[in-house]
């Protein structure tokens, strides 16, 4: 069971305080968008073996959403960061590169 640190209230807590929210950094495609874009927004997920960015809500705590960078195989957590961003912040990317030199980077 994971341990995560909520960047919004500073609490490190076990997984049962949080609610998972799937892949992070999805771009919303609304009315008039192309079918492929809408399909990708709604249904296509990276589901990688390895470095992954995902949404979590501190559901039993401060109620805020945040994002986590995590290895889906080893469960190593590279870091958590605020949800108000469209891509992983530089320091998180650095941390991942440090731990996973072979990582192809965020795309």
């Amino acid at each position: 069971m994971l341990l995560l640190t909520c960047p919004c209230c500073g609490v490190t807590a076990e997984e049962t305080e949080f609610a998972p929210g799937g892949e992070a950094h999805l771009k919303r495609f609304g009315p008039g968008s192309a079918d492929e874009d809408y399909e990708s927004y709604m249904f296509n997920r990276k589901n990688p073996r390895g470095v992954h960015f995902e949404r979590w809500r501190h559901a039993y705590g401060c109620g805020k959403w945040f994002l986590a960078a995590r290895d889906t195989i080893t469960l190593e957590v590279f870091g958590t960061y605020p949800a108000q961003t469209t891509e992983p912040p530089a320091e998180i990317v650095e941390k991942i590169k440090d731990r996973r030199p072979d990582w192809e980077g965020y795309a």
Partner: protein
């Protein structure tokens, strides 16, 4: 209206290895807004006498207190009958601000736990390292299957706040956790 008001679980109490009782009616106001705003801290200080609390802290002045709930939310504690007026006062003071006030006094239940074993009791229902909590701290967490806020009022005094609808569950849960003979002797 001031007669026949009922709290969530009037007069509920239990003597386990800590003392447990429902705390009765408690005024509570949710304030959402920019906690960094000077206008906001000034308005709060004037209306309650309390300083703005730091992250996960409670500040108290007399029968008023401010509890940090999230980066943009405070819980204002006050006497139950003062809450409606305090909402009006603060709304006026914050009229230019992007801030939202709501009286939530009746949306919740408050339980008071007294005794040196409070950490041992709560350790059975919440995934929290209670050695890290001291008076003046607030921790929002899970109590078994419901959300709870734990307010540490003193070395041997805490309050547990939950939603009103689950007051009976919370009381039964706390009764079970504090039943005599089940002291885990974890925090000593």
């Amino acid at each position: 209206m001031s007669e026949n008001l009922t709290s969530a679980l009037p007069n509920a109490e239990f003597a386990g290895f800590v003392a447990l009782r429902e705390a009765g009616l408690q005024g509570m106001i949710t304030l959402r807004g920019d906690l960094g705003s000077k206008a906001l801290s000034k308005a709060l200080s004037e209306a309650t006498g309390c300083a703005l609390p730091a992250q996960r802290k409670i500040t108290t002045k007399g029968d008023h207190a401010l509890a940090w709930m999230s980066p943009d939310e405070l819980l204002i504690l006050c006497p139950h009958d003062k809450a409606p007026k305090l909402v009006v006062t603060l709304s006026k003071a914050l009229s230019g601000e992007f801030a939202t006030l709501a009286n939530v006094s009746d949306a919740r239940a408050v339980f008071q736990i007294s005794g040196p074993g409070w950490r041992d009791a709560l350790a059975k229902i919440s995934p929290v390292d209670f050695s890290t909590l001291a008076p003046g701290d607030l921790r929002r967490t899970r109590a078994a299957q419901v959300a709870a806020a734990i307010l540490v009022d003193g070395p041997e005094e805490v309050r547990v706040i939950c939603f009103r609808s689950v007051a009976q569950y919370m009381f039964d849960l706390l009764k079970t956790a504090t039943a005599p003979g089940s002291e885990p002797m974890l925090y000593r």
